[in-house]
Subunit: 728 residues, 2 copies
C-alpha cells in the first residue's frame, strides 16, 4: 500500500483510543484492557488493536453496523426535540428520518464519541479518558481527513474573504463549537475593515487622541458586539443548534451533600446547598485580589525598572539593560499565570458546580480576570499612573537601582538629573504599538513555530534514543517492526497523530477577545491599531486552520450555539472602552499634554465627569444600537418561528379533529301561533320549576328571542308600552 | 320572589348584552338585533331578551349545554398547551380532563366572553361591542356574585394582612389580571412596613435629607422592584398563566399594506413595513416634547403664581389668593391631560401595531410620560429650580402681578421687598407632604365618593324625570312596568349594573406606580412618606375591592402573567430615584442650605459627580440584588421545571419504546485454536478484499481483540517484540 494512499484512507476507523500502561502492572493492565474492549463492544462498536508507542497500544473503534448508528442518531435527535433544539420530533422510521435530514460528519463523530464516553445509564460505554477507572485511556481521538484538510488550507490561503458556505463546511467537519470560533473571527475580521480605514484616515488627518476617532471607535465596538449577538442567533438556527447550550450535562465530579427524593417526579435528586456554594464563591474575592496584587506587583515592578533604566539610568549597557524587565516578565509571568490558573481551576472545582456549562462559565470568568490584568495593566499604568503622577513617582524609583548596580560606573548614573524629571510623552504610544503589533506577531509565531520545533525535537530525540538502543545491542524499541507491512504506513500516521496535542478552541477565542480589548480600550492612542489587527487576523484565521490540521489531533466535534462567556467579556470590554477612551481623550487631548498644554492641569473631578458622561452616552448609544439591530430582518428567527408554527398547527389540528364539534344550533324557534299560546298556558302551570328555569323558559329558541326583541324595539318610542305585556 | 333572593341568584345568566338603539331607526335596529341573536345562538348560546332602560333591551346569554362549554374549554386548553402555557396537552377525553383540573369561574367566564367576541374564523360569534357592525351593542358584562362580594368585603375589612389564598380567590373570581393588581398592591403594602418603620426612626433621629435614609430607601426600592419580578414568575406558575402575555392577539384595527403569502407555511400574512412604523413612532418625539412643554408651562405658571403670591405679594386676601394657582391647575390640568391622552391614543393607533400587547405597551409608555410630568414636575421645580435659582428668578415673577392686581392696594405689595428675597426652605417639604398625604387622601376620596354621588344624582334625575312624565299624563317611561312580577327585582338589579362603569385595572395600577415614584424620588425630603402610604394603601386595597363590587360592572376576567409595561416604569422610577435622592441629599444636606451652609455654594460639577457616582452605586447594588434574588428558592419555577421534565420523560419513553434497541453484542469472539489458524489461512486468501476490510478482519470479535491486546501488553517490556508477530 503506497504511502499516499495511507494518508488518504482512514481505514473506516471512527475513533482511536490510546491505551498506555507504563505505570500499571501488566496483569492489571491486561485485565483493564479486557474490560475496556468489552465495554466498547457492548455498545455496538467493532474493535481492532495494534501496537502503539512504548508501553501503549492503539485501540481502533468503529460502529459495528449502520443500524446501531441510526438508532443512536434517532435517540440523539429525539433528545434534541425534547429539549427544544428541534421544532418537530424526528420521523419515527429512522431510515426515513435520516433520508429527510442526512447525517453530517461532525454529527456522526459526536454521536459515536458520546457512545464511547457517556455513562452506562445513558446508553454509553462510560469510558472517561484519563479519569478514575479509565486512567490508562490516554486519549480518544478521530483521525484527520487529510484530503479535506489539504483542500481546506489550499482554499483558504487563496481566498480573501470567507463565505458562509466555508463556515458551513467547517461545521460539517469539525462541529459547531469550532465553527463558531471561525465565524466569530471572520465576522470580527470583516468588521475591522471599517475601523482600519477610518483609523488610517484619522491617523493622517486627526492625529492621536482625537475625540472623533474615540467616539466612532466606541460606537463601532458596540455595533460589533451587538451585531454578533444577532449573528449568533442566525448561525444557531442555520446550523440547527439553537438552545443547545441550555441542554445541561451533569458534571461527573459534582459532589452532592444530600439526596432528596423529588416528591413529584419520584426521582432521586442530588443536592448541594446553594448557600454553601455561595460561601465558596466568596473565595473568588480574595482570589481576584490576590491575583491582581501579585500580577500587578510583578507588572508594576517590571514597569518601574523599565522606567528607571530608560529614563533615569544613564550608565553603560543602557540599551541592553532596557530589556531586563521584559526578561523578568517573560520568565515570571508564565510561572505566576500558571500558578493562578491552577488555583482558579481548583477553586472552580471546589465551588462544585452541577453542570459543565456552569463550571466552564465560572472558570472562564476567573481566567478572564487574570488575562485582563496581564494584558491591559501595563498600558493602564502608563496612562493613568506614569503620565499624571510620573514626576512624583519617578524619583522614588531609585529602589530599582539595585538591578543596574553591577553595571553602573558611579552613583550619579542612577539618580534623577537635577534638572528635574519630565515624563516621556511617547511612552504610551510605543507601548500600545508594542502590544498591538509586536506582541501579536510574536504570538502568532509562537502558535505556529513553537509546536513545530517541539515536534521536530521530539522526533529527533526518539530517533537518537532508538539509535542508542540499537548501538547497545538491544532490539529496536520501535513498535513499527511488529506492524503488518500493508498497514505500516497507516499505523505510522496514526502514531504520529496520537502524539499531537488536543485543540482547545477557548484559547483561540480568548486571544481574539483580548485583541478586541486593545482596540476598544486603547486604539485612540494609536488609530492604526485596527490596520495592524486586520493583517494579523487574516493570517490568524489561516494559521488556526493549519494548526488544527497539522499540529493538533482532530477536535471532537462539540456543538455550541454561542461563543459562551466570552460574549460577556466582549460587552465588558466595550463598556470599559467607553471609560478609557474618554479618559485618554481628556487627558491627552493636546497630544499628550493635557487640555491646557500641561498634564499637571488635569483635575480629578473633570476627568471623572468626562468619564461618567461618556459612559452615559455609551449606554444611550448601546440602547439605540440594540433597538436598531433588533429591527434587522432575521431570516433565521423567521425560519424558526415558521417551523414552530407549522408544528403547532399540525398538533392543533390533530388534537382538535378528535374533539366533538359544537353541533349547529337546533332551530328551536317556534312561530307564535295558537299552539304556542297553548304552550304558554301549559308553561304557566309548571310553577313548580325553579325561578332560573322559569326565567330561561320564557323564550324558547333564538327565533322567539328575536320576535320578542323586535316587539320591544318597536314599542320603545311613543309610550304604548302597556300593549303586549302578556307575551313577555 | 323576595328581593333578597333576587340579589343572590344570577338566574344562571353568564353574560348580559346591552343593546341600545336610540340612534338607529327601528327597522335597522330590529334587523341587527336578529343578526345578533342568531350569531350568539350559532355558537351554542341560549338567549332571553328583556326590556332595558330607555331605548335599550337587555339580552341575557348562557351556554346552552355543558357539552358546548366543555368543548370550548378543551379548545382553549389545547391552545394554551401549544403556546407553551401548559406543560402537557390536556387529556383527550374532555370530561376526564375537566375532572382532573376543574374549571374555575374566571376561566368559565373568560371562555364564554371569547366565544361571544372572538371573530368567526376563530370559532366565536364575532360580536365587537361598540365597534363597526355591532355599534348598538353597548356593553357585554357578567353579573356580580353578590354573595361572594359581601363575603369578600366583610373578610377584607376585618383582616390586616391578605394571604395568598385571598389572592387565589380573586383570581378564581375576577381573573388573573385583576388578581395581579391586588397581588402587586399587597406586596407593595407588605414591603412598605420596613421603610415606614425606618422612615419614622430616621425622621426622629436623623432628620431630613439624611444620606443614610436616602441610601436605605434607594436599596429598598430596588429590592422591591427586583423581588416583584421574582414574585410575578411565582404567581404566574401558581395560577398557570406563565407565558400568557406572549400569546398575541391580533388587533382588529391593524391595517396592512401588503399581503404576503408565506413561502413555507403557505398562509397569507398581512404586513405593515416596520420602517414606516418607525417613521410614525418618531412622532413620539414631538409628542413628548409638546406634552412636556405644555404641561410644564401650565405647572410652571401655577408654580410661579403660587411663589409670587406666597412669597412676594403682601396685600389683602393673601390667604385666599394662595389657592388661586391650585384652582387654575385643577381646572386646566384635566383638560390638557385629556387632550394629550386623546392625542396619545390617536398616535398609538396611527402607529398601527399588529397585536394588542404591542398597542397597550406603546400607549402605556406615552401615558406614563405624561403622568411623570404632571406628578413629579412641581416638586422638581421646587427642588432644582426654585431652591438653587430662586433668588435670581423670583424678582422676575412680577409678570404674575396681573393675577392679584384687582386685589392689591398699591404697587408695593406686588414687588419684592428691598431687603432682598430669600428662599423658603420649608416649601419643598410642604410640597412633598401635600403630594404624599393630602393628594393621596383626596384621590382615595374621589375614587369612592364621586362615583357614589354621581350614581345618587343620576338616580334622583331619573326619578324626577319619571315623576314629570307622570304629571304630564304620559305613561311612565320606566321599563319596569313591563317586567314579569317574579323577575322584577332581578331585572331591576341587572338594569342598575348595566349603568355602572367598566373597571379598568390599569388606572389603579398606574396610581400605585406613581405613588411608588414619590417614595423613590422624594421620600428623602420627608421620611414619613412611607408611613402615610402604608395607611393609604391599606384603605386603597379595601376601597378598590368595594369599588369593583359596588361601583363597577363585574370585570371581564382577563388573564395576565405580569403587571405589564408598568414593571418598566417601576424600574425607571427606581433608577431616577437614585439620581434625585443623591442630588437632594447633596443640595440640602445641611437641612436645606447646601453643604456649606448656604445654597449658593452649590457647584454644578460636584452635584453632577454626586449624582453620577450614586447612579453607579445603584447599578452595582441592583446587580447584587438581582444575583441575590435569582438565588432565592423559587418553588414555582421548580414546579414548572418538574412538570416539563415529566412531560418530556413521558414523550421520550413513548418515542424510544418504538425504536429498535441495539441488540446485545453477538459473541463473535472465537478461541484461538487450530480452527482459527485455519481460518487465518482462509483469510489470507481473501486478498481481493479492500485494505479497509482486511484491516478490520484481523481480529474477529472483541474477545480476539482482548487476546491480541493482552499479548501486546505482555511483550511490551523486555524487547521480545519479534515473537508472535504472525498472529497480528
Amino acid at each position: 500500500m503506497a504511502k499516499s494512499q495511507a494518508l488518504e484512507s482512514n481505514m473506516d476507523v471512527d475513533y482511536v483510543l490510546t491505551y498506555r500502561f507504563a505505570k500499571t502492572d501488566k496483569a492489571t493492565a491486561a485485565a483493564k484492557f479486557e474490560r475496556l474492549v468489552e465495554a466498547l463492544a457492548s455498545v455496538g462498536l467493532d474493535t481492532e488493536v495494534r501496537n502503539g508507542d512504548n508501553h501503549s497500544v492503539l485501540l481502533f473503534v468503529r460502529v459495528a453496523s449502520d443500524e446501531h448508528l441510526f438508532g443512536e442518531v434517532y435517540r440523539s435527535r429525539v433528545n434534541d426535540w425534547i429539549h427544544g433544539v428541534r421544532a418537530a420530533a424526528p420521523q419515527k422510521e429512522t431510515r426515513e428520518s435520516l433520508e429527510a435530514e442526512p447525517l453530517y460528519e461532525a454529527e456522526r463523530l459526536r454521536i459515536i464519541y458520546q457512545l464511547i464516553t457517556h455513562p452506562k445509564s445513558e446508553g454509553g460505554a462510560g469510558i472517561t479518558p484519563k479519569e478514575g477507572e479509565w486512567e490508562e485511556v490516554e486519549a480518544v481521538f478521530a483521525l484527520h481527513d487529510h484530503d479535506y484538510n489539504k483542500d481546506w488550507i489550499k482554499k483558504w490561503t487563496s481566498q480573501y474573504i470567507l463565505k458562509t458556505e466555508d463556515l458551513d463546511e467547517i461545521r460539517n467537519r469539525l462541529g459547531e463549537k469550532v465553527a463558531f470560533y471561525f465565524a466569530f473571527t471572520q465576522s470580527y475580521f470583516t468588521f475591522l475593515i471599517f475601523p482600519a480605514a477610518f483609523g488610517l484616515s484619522s491617523w493622517l488627518l486627526l492625529g492621536h487622541f482625537s475625540p472623533i476617532y474615540g467616539f466612532v471607535s466606541a460606537i463601532w465596538c458596540t455595533v460589533f458586539t451587538e451585531w454578533w449577538k444577532h449573528q449568533e442567533v442566525e448561525l444557531g438556527v442555520r446550523w440547527g443548534v439553537r438552545g443547545v447550550s441550555k441542554m445541561e450535562t451533569k458534571r461527573r465530579d459534582f459532589k452532592h451533600e444530600k439526596e432528596i427524593t423529588d416528591p413529584i417526579t419520584g426521582e432521586k435528586v442530588l443536592m448541594f446547598p446553594s448557600t454553601k456554594r455561595l460561601q465558596r464563591q466568596l473565595l473568588q474575592v480574595p482570589f481576584a485580589i490576590g491575583a491582581a496584587v501579585m500580577l500587578g506587583a510583578l507588572i508594576a515592578t517590571c514597569f518601574g525598572i523599565e522606567v528607571f533604566i530608560s529614563e533615569v539610568y544613564n550608565g553603560p549597557f543602557k540599551s541592553i539593560l532596557v530589556f531586563l524587565p521584559t526578561g523578568i516578565a517573560t520568565v515570571f509571568m508564565p510561572i505566576l499565570t500558571s500558578i493562578f490558573t491552577d488555583f482558579a481551576t481548583r477553586l472552580t472545582k471546589y465551588e462544585n458546580y452541577e453542570t459543565h456549562g456552569a463550571y466552564e462559565t465560572a472558570l472562564t470568568q476567573k481566567i478572564f480576570v487574570m488575562n485582563t490584568i496581564t494584558s491591559y495593566l501595563p498600558i493602564f499604568l502608563t496612562a493613568f499612573v506614569y503620565v499624571p503622577f510620573g514626576t512624583v513617582i519617578v524619583p522614588y524609583l531609585d529602589v530599582f537601582s539595585l538591578t543596574v548596580k553591577p553595571f553602573a560606573e558611579d552613583e550619579k548614573q542612577m539618580q534623577t538629573s537635577h534638572a528635574g524629571f519630565s515624563i516621556n510623552p511617547g511612552r504610551l504610544r510605543k507601548q500600545v504599538i508594542y502590544f498591538t503589533v509586536t506582541a501579536q506577531i510574536v504570538n502568532l509565531g509562537m502558535e505556529l513555530i513553537v509546536p513545530y520545533l517541539k515536534r521536530q525535537g521530539f522526533a529527533k530525540y526518539k530517533e537518537m534514543q532508538s539509535e542508542r538502543a540499537a548501538k547497545n545491542g538491544g532490539a529496536p524499541a520501535s513498535p513499527t517492526t511488529s506492524d503488518p507491512p500493508e498497514d505500516a504506513a497507516f499505523l505510522q500516521r496514526v502514531r504520529k497523530e496520537a502524539e499531537l496535542g488536543v485543540y482547545d478552541v477557548t484559547t483561540d477565542l480568548r486571544e481574539m477577545v483580548l485583541q478586541f480589548g486593545y482596540l476598544s480600550l486603547f486604539s485612540v492612542v494609536w488609530p492604526l491599531t485596527a490596520v495592524s489587527f486586520i493583517i494579523n487576523d487574516w493570517l490568524e484565521l489561516r494559521a488556526d486552520a493549519i494548526k488544527i490540521c497539522v499540529e493538533m489531533q482532530r477536535p471532537i466535534p462539540w456543538r455550541a450555539d454561542t461563543i459562551g462567556p466570552w460574549l460577556d467579556s466582549l460587552s465588558f470590554l466595550t463598556w470599559l472602552g467607553s471609560l478609557t477612551t474618554s479618559a485618554l481623550v481628556y487627558m491627552f487631548s493636546n497630544d499628550g499634554l493635557g487640555p491646557s498644554g500641561h498634564p499637571k492641569n488635569l483635575t480629578g473631578w473633570a476627568l471623572l465627569l468626562t468619564v461618567l458622561l461618556s459612559e452615559h452616552i455609551f449606554f444611550l448609544a448601546r440602547w439605540g444600537i440594540r433597538v436598531g439591530i433588533s429591527k434587522l430582518a432575521s431570516p433565521g428567527l423567521e425560519k424558526e418561528r415558521r417551523e414552530r408554527y407549522l408544528v403547532r398547527k399540525q398538533y392543533f389540528e390533530e388534537n382538535l379533529s378528535q374533539m366533538q364539534r359544537i353541533p349547529k344550533m337546533a332551530d328551536k324557534g317556534v312561530e307564535i301561533s295558537r299552539e304556542s299560546l297553548e304552550e304558554d298556558a301549559r308553561r304557566s302551570s309548571l310553577k313548580t320549576s325553579s325561578p332560573e328555569e322559569r326565567f330561561w323558559e320564557r323564550q324558547r329558541g333564538w327565533r322567539e328571542t328575536v320576535q320578542v326583541g323586535r316587539s320591544l324595539i318597536e314599542r320603545a318610542e311613543g309610550g304604548n308600552s302597556t300593549e303586549g305585556k302578556k307575551d313577555l
